[in-house]
Amino acid sequence: MGIGIRIEELQKIYRTPPPMAARGGGFAFAGMRPARKDKKKKFEVVALAGISLEIRPGEVYGLLGPNGAGKSTAIGILTTRTQPNGGRALLGDYDVWQDPVKVKRLIGVVPQRPNLDFALTAREILLFHGAYFGQTSAERARRTDELLDKFKLTDRADHMARTFSGGMMQRLSIARAMMHDPEVLFLDEPSAGLDPQTRLLLWDIVRDYNRLGKTIVLTTHYMDEADALCDRLAIIDHGRIIAQGTPTELKASIPGGYLLRLRFDRVPEEFAAALRTLPGVLEVRAVEKTGADVYASRGGSLIPGIVSAAQAAGVELRDVSIAEPSLETLFLHHTGRSLRD
């Protein structure tokens, strides 16, 4: 069966500082704006400026964007933890805000930063989680053993969770979220802080879980992760969706597909115009005074042409980087900023 999600014009404005998880790991909000001047200075952050999207049952859906884009806030609203200021969020037949208890039954949540119950051991965390969801003690014990084994935590099962390393806590958080076999699994930056090996384990687990017909929603700012896992994606920036589709569709939307980021000592207008006339070049954007982003249908083979054009214009080429079609270049194309900026 599987459960779909529909979000309509969802808005969130924080009037007090948001919780840490939605604060993008301590980075400032890009959407911070000063309130009206006549009043006392008020805290106001627009985290979501009216987003709408539809997640199909059984799909792996990714929310991609830089820190502070509004991803965690969107997850917070869908998981009943954050109150929206406007709009609607439906999980299956239930309005998240009208029927939070029914929604909580259907979802499993892996937060950005582990929020494990530090008064308990790993095994107890899973057992009590099962108990909260009304599992019988036999069922709880069986699931706990299975999950501890799957997440390679069996040998530390009876240690207090507060003694765990970051990666182990993250694995335990995911195990906990899967304990009650939820229909929809939310993962907020699941691979942040994981070593490459654990990250691959995580990807396998997500794929396996999805194969059971479960819907998966994850946020990430890693392009490769979004590319490798997601059936469809929304790219979010400043609380708005700037592009939506399958990774392939999205990548195809970049003019030409290739992006050459060039740095010169200066970029006069006639030089930019000369770059535009090179064969295969579809779009040239000046970046500050010394750079140009060239969208083209080919990559390395364009370099000789660029070098001669630079020589002809008396401009010195200082740096070249060629990005193949990727979600990173897509993000850059839509926002003019790199994901890491």
Partner: protein
């Protein structure tokens, strides 16, 4: 209402309490033991206080013990769980309305408060011996007052725990709990405040006054005390107010 979830959470709190049994016993036992020893034994045996001071003081120590441990049992873990690590999140995501988690915290705090209060009686026998003059002639009155007192302490702990941040714990003790203890009529009957008319009426906002006076009325009726009806009425009003405020604060704090 999802009782399975509710009881699973109570079981979790009981499990954590069992694990921390020794520190918890020390936290809940040591203070009343010392108070009973100093006020009930040292001061009276030394002749500084009359022997009947024991009867005045014992219900007061019980009230303090109940009130403090209930507040601590709820407020302290809540402050940690709502901080940085957001440990409480897993329970907020359990299939139960958030407000019920607040109720669960109150029930767990009440149990702890009741135990800490009742344990004062064997403590007193142990420390003072036979010189204590307390009676159990009003068991229902005693039970009702104990329940209402533990409810006020646990729900007060809930309200405080939701209002106070980790950095303000020290302030909470010196600004809220210390004056509450000193002006809670625990070590003197309320009628003795007649010499300070303004104070006498000002302390009436302190719930501990009703706790001390009520327990005094139930256990040592020979000592002057407030009428039982007034005590029950006041405690009931305070309980309703604190539960309402506490649960509302909790709900507000639970959501971002």
């Amino acid at each position: 209402m999802n009782w399975k979830t509710f009881f699973a959470m109570l079981a979790r709190d009981a499990h954590v309490a069992r694990r921390n049994l020794l520190p918890m016993l020390l936290q809940n036992l040591l203070q009343p033991l010392l108070l009973v020893f100093v006020f009930g034994r040292v001061l009276t045996t030394g002749g500084l206080m009359a022997a009947r001071f024991k009867d005045v003081m014992l219900p007061g120590v019980m009230a303090i013990s109940m009130a403090l441990s209930g507040v601590q049992a709820v407020a302290m873990p809540l402050i940690t769980e709502f901080q940085f690590t957001r440990e409480i999140e897993d329970r907020l995501l359990a299939p139960m309305a958030n407000g019920w988690l607040a109720v669960e915290k109150i029930v767990a705090g009440m149990i702890q408060g009741l135990v800490a209060g009742l344990v004062v009686i064997p403590c007193a026998w142990l420390v003072i011996g036979s010189g204590v003059n307390i009676s159990m002639r009003h068991p229902f009155e005693f039970a009702a007052i104990c329940l209402l007192v533990s409810l006020f302490s646990a729900s007060g702990g809930l309200a405080l725990g939701c209002a106070v941040g980790q950095t303000q714990i020290g302030l909470m003790f010196s600004l809220v709990l210390a004056p509450m203890m000193m002006f809670g009529c625990a070590y003197y009957p309320w009628s003795m405040l007649s010499a300070f008319p303004a104070l006498k009426y000002a302390v009436l906002i302190n719930p501990l006054v009703y706790a001390s006076e009520g327990l005094r009325g139930a256990l040592a009726p020979q000592v002057p005390h407030m009428p039982v009806a007034a005590v029950l009425g006041a405690l009931l009003t305070i309980d309703v107010a604190l539960v309402t405020v506490g649960v509302r604060q909790f709900n507000k704090k639970a959501l971002s």
